[in-house]
């Protein structure tokens, strides 16, 4: 009796929880096919807003810039974050370790206005022109902590005897890393890269602080349009982004499943 009741409670929690998470997204997608200019009044099915996006050069340029920044910053973040995870799991003692672990985890929770403002002031005082590279560095700094956490959770369950065996058989540390360590932690590294990539795609605050003329990202464009009022065009571009991310996530999970099955 009680177990039946608790199962009903579980089902209710999951149903309501997922309804809350997904309903706004579903509504957004439905209204992207609305013929009417009014966002909340249904005026029949239409794909006119999708056609309108392709003709919006500013939006397309911003989308391209966003993808470039995301790819570059995720690459940097993956290298820095993976090394940070290795440093934290492999070396129990080194000078400044406490500060180091603080520096790795703090960017995850640090309000972005603080990180953004401080990076901007760094770039200004170094006299660096702001644009693609400054946004990329800002995003990499913000996301490498996420990569570190993901990779670290894989490293802690890592069987080190494989590395020791390779070293005993005469492999150099570099060989051990490239031939043993990296292949084993690869799924976590890939997951970290994807996480960094989407966090970068998503970021408005850091990009707004650290960007320069000509390097407007898609969230910045969307934000300035949203503030002027809700338009179905935004619904359409949002739907495209949701579709792209969903396809990417499913592809990634299928890929990891296949590689897991292959082993």
């Amino acid at each position: 009796m009680t177990s039946q009741r608790s199962r009903a409670l579980d089902a209710t929690a999951l149903t309501l929880g997922f309804a809350f998470l997904y309903l706004p997204i579903v509504i957004l997608v439905i209204f992207s096919f609305n013929a009417s200019q009014l966002v909340t009044v249904w005026g029949g099915f239409s794909t006119r807003w999708y056609a309108a996006i392709w003709q919006n050069r500013q939006l397309m340029d911003a989308a391209w810039m966003t993808l470039k920044v995301a790819a570059a910053s995720a690459a940097f973040a993956t290298v820095v974050g993976t090394l940070a995870a290795l440093a934290l799991t492999r070396y129990a003692r080194f000078r400044g370790r406490t500060l180091f672990s603080g520096l790795v985890y703090a960017p995850i929770v640090m309000p972005e206005v603080i990180t953004g403002l401080s990076l901007l002031l760094l770039f200004v005082s170094l006299g660096i022109d702001r644009g693609f590279w400054t946004v990329t560095v800002a995003h990499a700094t913000f996301t490498c902590g996420f990569v570190a956490v993901v990779v670290q959770s894989r490293l802690v369950t890592f069987d080190r005897s494989l590395e020791e065996a390779a070293a005993d058989l005469g492999a150099t540390p570099a060989q051990v890393f490239w031939r043993i360590t990296l292949p084993i932690i690869a799924p976590a590294v890939v997951a970290g890269f994807l996480l960094a990539f989407t966090l970068s795609l998503d970021d408005l605050v850091l990009a707004s602080f650290t960007t320069g003329p000509g390097s407007t990202t898609l969230p910045m464009r969307i934000y300035s349009q949203v503030r002027l009022g809700v338009t179905p065009e935004i619904n359409a571009i949002s739907t495209l982004m949701i579709a792209a991310v969903t396809v990417l996530v499913i592809a990634a999970s299928l890929a990891t499943k296949r590689s897991a099955a292959a082993h």
């Binding site: 809350f20 997204i25 957004l28 209204f31 206005v113 403002l117 570099a174």
Partner: protein, 300 residues
């Protein structure tokens, strides 16, 4: 590469990156917060340049002032914005815990083959644009929006509710956006929990609610701490949610900093706000960081 050189590379590369792009900039913010605003590009009177030499530093040290902090502490607007941010973050985190815990608990008790799918389902919205998810709520909450139409249509209310542009709307946005950050750490600890403890309690005649209170809840405390800090800290500095859903009436400190910087172009005051926000949050951040480090050690 020798063992030593490898070790040095692995530690130094991320260390230097984070020191240069995360630690050093705070020093610059602190310095900026002591300088004066000016109509120039960049819009402030520089303090301390390396080129000034010791004599120059001494002269400029006398120009440093705490005026910006005086402005902030003396102005109700800033003080209110700080208080409102902490209040919204605290209430939001509490609601998140109350909503997130049953979801995480149910996920952890679901059949094992379902769990990866449920985790994926929680993460998926987080992989779609945050800005867009907040934006979706504008269409739902505004006076002629979907929620009001639904409630009016059902005859539950006579006049449209004014939710958009209130603190309630900000709280809805906050809870919605941060839910995965609360659910996932909770799920991680609940899923690892030793289920036999509950069976033992049941065999000994302990009612389920008591077993939950005495066993499940205390054991999930690390997840509760991680989830709460993971939500509370960033919510305090939130910009986009109060701006899009809160309207002009809801002041939060992140948005105030944003306005000082982008609209008023007052970099020194914006920096002083950032320093104060950091001072308030440094405690919670350290708690979070320690929790995170401990969890990683425990997983070993």
């Amino acid at each position: 590469m020798s063992e030593r050189a490898t070790r040095r590379t692995i530690i130094l590369v991320p260390y230097l990156w984070l020191a240069l792009f995360f630690l050093v900039p705070f020093a610059i913010v602190a310095k900026m917060s002591l300088s004066q605003v000016a109509t120039a590009i960049p819009p402030y009177v520089p303090v301390f340049g390396l080129a000034d030499g010791p004599a120059g530093w001494f002269a400029k040290a006398r120009e440093l002032s705490l005026d910006n902090y005086g402005v902030i502490v003396g102005d109700r607007l800033y003080v209110d914005a700080f208080l409102a941010s902490l209040r919204i973050a605290a209430i939001g985190t509490a609601i998140l815990l109350v909503i997130g815990y049953p979801i995480a608990h149910a996920m952890a008790r679901a059949p094992e083959r379902w769990r990866p799918i449920l985790v994926m389902a929680v993460i998926l919205p987080f992989w779609t644009s945050f800005l867009i998810r907040v934006y979706a709520w504008i269409g739902i909450l505004k006076p002629e929006g979907l929620l009001n139409e639904l409630l009016l249509g059902l005859g539950l209310i006579g006049t449209p509710l004014q939710i958009a542009n209130t603190e309630t709307a900000v709280l809805i946005g906050v809870v919605y956006s941060y839910l995965p950050f609360m659910v996932l750490p909770l799920y991680a600890t609940l899923e690892r929990m030793d289920r036999t403890l509950l069976e033992a309690a049941q065999d000994l005649g302990c009612p389920p609610w008591k077993a939950f209170w005495r066993i499940t809840l205390p054991l999930s405390l690390p997840g509760i701490v991680a989830g709460c800090f993971l939500c509370f800290i960033p919510i305090t500095g939130e910009v986009v949610i109060p701006d899009l859903l809160g309207g002009s009436d809801t002041l939060m400190i992140g948005k105030t900093l944003w306005t000082e910087f982008f609209s008023n172009r007052d970099w020194p005051v914006a920096s002083a706000v950032a320093v104060l926000l950091l001072v308030i949050l440094v405690g919670p951040i350290m708690v979070y960081q320690r929790q995170q480090a401990r969890q990683m050690e425990a997983g070993r």
